[in-house]
């Protein structure tokens, strides 16, 4: 049988259109390597900022608490008040029993000046800082005297009422001229946490910043046609990454319970990318053939489905969060559980999404205003978090705080076919100051 050319073409097509040939073994590793090269490491500025905060905190801690090879036993905490004593004021006297020669008369004596230089240095460097932790009974707000009144007989001066040396300090060998039982306190014991048992109420001021991940929630309102649009939006919009920063004031009202309010700012970006699969773009160049003086059309490139739109959508929210919290403490460290609600003050947005009517990209940025998608304000949300804190100093903490926030009211307007909300996950790093 003699077959036509078309019949022969059909044979070629039948034999080769679905032919299966395994590729060379090196192809798949090459594809894997090429895909890995496409991944880019992004070190966001918030990571650098968090590292800077942590480094600053570590440096501050190192400067405030020098390293001591000696094991420091935890001393009982004492009440602290606003004792204002100049660190360089060597005339300041700590509340300690000191045996000094009797004075001829009742006179005010600068006790420290009467000591020899070695004792002066001990008082200045080691005992002096204790003064902040010594408080006369019943007197809440008093600055320690700069001199002591000596009694005529020059016996040991009594401590400021209410505390004994042993309750304050660790036992140390006595220095010459010092009565037995004098205990010097070392600087390391100033790193104790705040005495919340004595001060059941306190104000805290906190500041934080950290990275943020935003997961978008798109829900239909019951119309089956919206499912297709929802899936298309999910395919064209990526997850959001950004940062959060803020500050708050907290009031500890019952040793372990606290209430806080503040200002919180969250900003995140997502990539919107859309390619029309049915579009074909031909890039054509005309070349003049001078020998024949004719124009020749030359196709340089062909793009299938490449009518692309790529936009970085950005969102920013300013909220007033209000929270309740509960703290557990163990020495210098502790954990706080907190949760509450937030009201949005300001919501800015810019970018593009697929238009529900036309199916092509359209801007929702108010200035460009091609489609109305988002509300003016983001409305209400709830949040919860766990704070792990560490006392650098009695009144200073550093903390790490993973937090979750769920948008309650939809971000989108009622006329939009989908309800859009957001779940934001953030890892905050910050400082607390007890005032």
């Amino acid at each position: 049988m003699i077959s036509s050319e078309e019949e022969l073409d059909k044979q070629w097509k039948e034999r080769l259109q679905n032919a299966s040939v395994p590729p060379p073994a090196f192809v798949w590793p090459e594809i894997e390597r090429a895909l890995q090269r496409k991944k880019r490491r992004v070190i966001g500025w918030w990571s650098a900022g968090s590292a800077a905060v942590l480094l600053t905190g570590l440096l501050w801690y190192r400067a405030a608490v020098p390293v001591s090879s000696e094991q420091v036993a935890p001393a009982p905490t004492v009440a602290t008040e606003k004792a204002t004593l100049a660190a360089a004021d060597h005339t300041a006297v700590v509340a300690e029993a000191v045996a000094i020669p009797p004075a001829k008369s009742h006179e005010k004596v600068n006790v420290v000046d009467k000591m020899d230089l070695s004792l002066q240095s001990v008082v200045a460097e080691e005992i002096f800082p204790l003064a902040r932790f010594v408080q006369p009974e019943g007197r809440k707000d008093v600055s320690l005297p700069t001199v002591l009144d000596r009694q005529e007989k020059g016996t040991s001066l009594s401590l400021l009422a209410g505390r004994s040396p042993k309750s304050l300090l660790r036992e140390q060998p006595s220095l010459p001229g010092w009565p037995s039982g004098v205990i010097r306190k070392r600087k390391e014991q100033t790193g104790q946490c705040y005495d919340f048992s004595e001060n059941r109420r306190a104000w805290l001021v906190e500041g934080y910043l950290g990275p943020l991940y935003s997961k978008k929630q798109l829900e239909t309102t019951g119309n089956p046609e919206q499912v297709v649009y929802r899936d298309r939006r999910r395919a064209t919009e990526g997850p959001g990454w950004g940062f959060t920063l803020g500050g708050r004031a907290a009031y500890l009202f019952s040793e372990k319970y606290l209430f806080s309010a503040g200002l919180d700012y969250q900003q995140f970006s997502e990539v919107f990318e859309y390619a029309d699969p049915s579009s074909i773009e031909y890039i054509i160049k005309q070349v003049l053939d001078v020998s024949t003086n004719t124009w020749k059309i030359d196709t340089i490139d062909i793009n299938f489905g490449e009518e692309r739109t790529r936009v970085f959508n950005r969102f920013g929210l300013v909220d007033v969060p209000v929270s309740m919290g509960y703290e557990w403490r163990a020495g210098r460290m502790g954990v706080r559980l907190q949760g509450g609600g937030a009201a949005n003050l300001f919501f800015w947005k810019r970018g593009a999404i697929l238009d529900p009517q036309t199916g092509v990209p359209g801007y929702f940025t108010p200035a460009k205003g091609t489609q109305s998608v988002f509300r003016v304000r983001a409305g209400l949300s709830w949040h919860a978090g766990v704070q792990w804190f560490w006392h650098l100093a009695p009144k200073t903490r550093v903390f790490v705080e993973p937090t979750f926030r769920q948008q309650l009211t939809p971000l989108s307007v009622t006329t939009h076919p989908l309800e859009q909300r957001a779940q934001n996950w953030s890892l905050r790093v910050g400082f607390s100051k007890i005032i």
Binding site: M1, I2, S3, S4, E5, E7, L8, D9, Q11, W12, K13, R15, L16, Q17, A19, S20, V21, P22, P23, P24, F26, V27, E30, I31, A34, L35, K38, R232, A235, T236, E273, A275, P277, Y282, I284, I297, D298, T299, I300, D301, I302, F304, G305
Partner: protein, 163 residues
């Protein structure tokens, strides 16, 4: 998909490069597949497009091989059954670039001459002539490979008789 790339490529190495580049595009553009048509067809389209871009980039010219002098001998039905897929792919690969692209698009992929001409940036008449020349080239190559004498039955008989 490697077989698809082999049909469009000059050499197996070129086919591997096209396959690699095509799969990377599949991976990065996966989100653009909206379930319109079969998934295999979508991937095949990407592979074909990648192959065409490769040769457009390299500005391969449609070569003239002087096959115009070949008589137009039709082939018998089921003649291709004599050869394996690998041999047939090898024959396709030995086609000159222009003939190979047109043959793949029109004879195997099913494009019309107008569509193929638009894709390749040539005239429709050029597409038709290139396809005819590709068929003749393949027929000659087929005879050499299978020794069936389809193009020249007398040559086959002489070979068989040892004369």
């Amino acid at each position: 998909m490697y077989a698809v790339c082999l049909r469009y490529a000059r050499t197996p190495a070129d086919a591997a490069d096209i396959l690699q580049e095509g799969f990377i595009k599949v991976y990065t553009k996966l989100g653009q597949y909206h379930f319109q048509g079969s998934f295999e067809g979508w991937i095949r389209r990407i592979m074909v497009n990648t192959a065409l871009r490769t040769y457009q980039r390299h500005r391969y010219e449609l070569e003239q091989t002087g096959l115009e002098r070949l008589p137009d001998f039709p082939q018998e039905a089921d003649a291709l059954a004599l050869l394996s897929e690998a041999e047939l792919l090898g024959m396709i690969g030995r086609l000159p670039d222009g003939y190979r692209l047109v043959f793949n698009l029109v004879a195997i992929e099913g494009y019309s001459h107008a569509e193929a001409a638009e894709v390749l940036g040539i005239q429709e008449s050029t597409s038709r002539s290139q396809l005819t020349k590709a068929r003749r080239w393949l027929a000659e190559e087929f005879d050499k490979t299978s020794n069936t004498g389809l193009l020249n039955p007398m040559a086959s008989k002489r070979n068989n008789n040892g004369t």
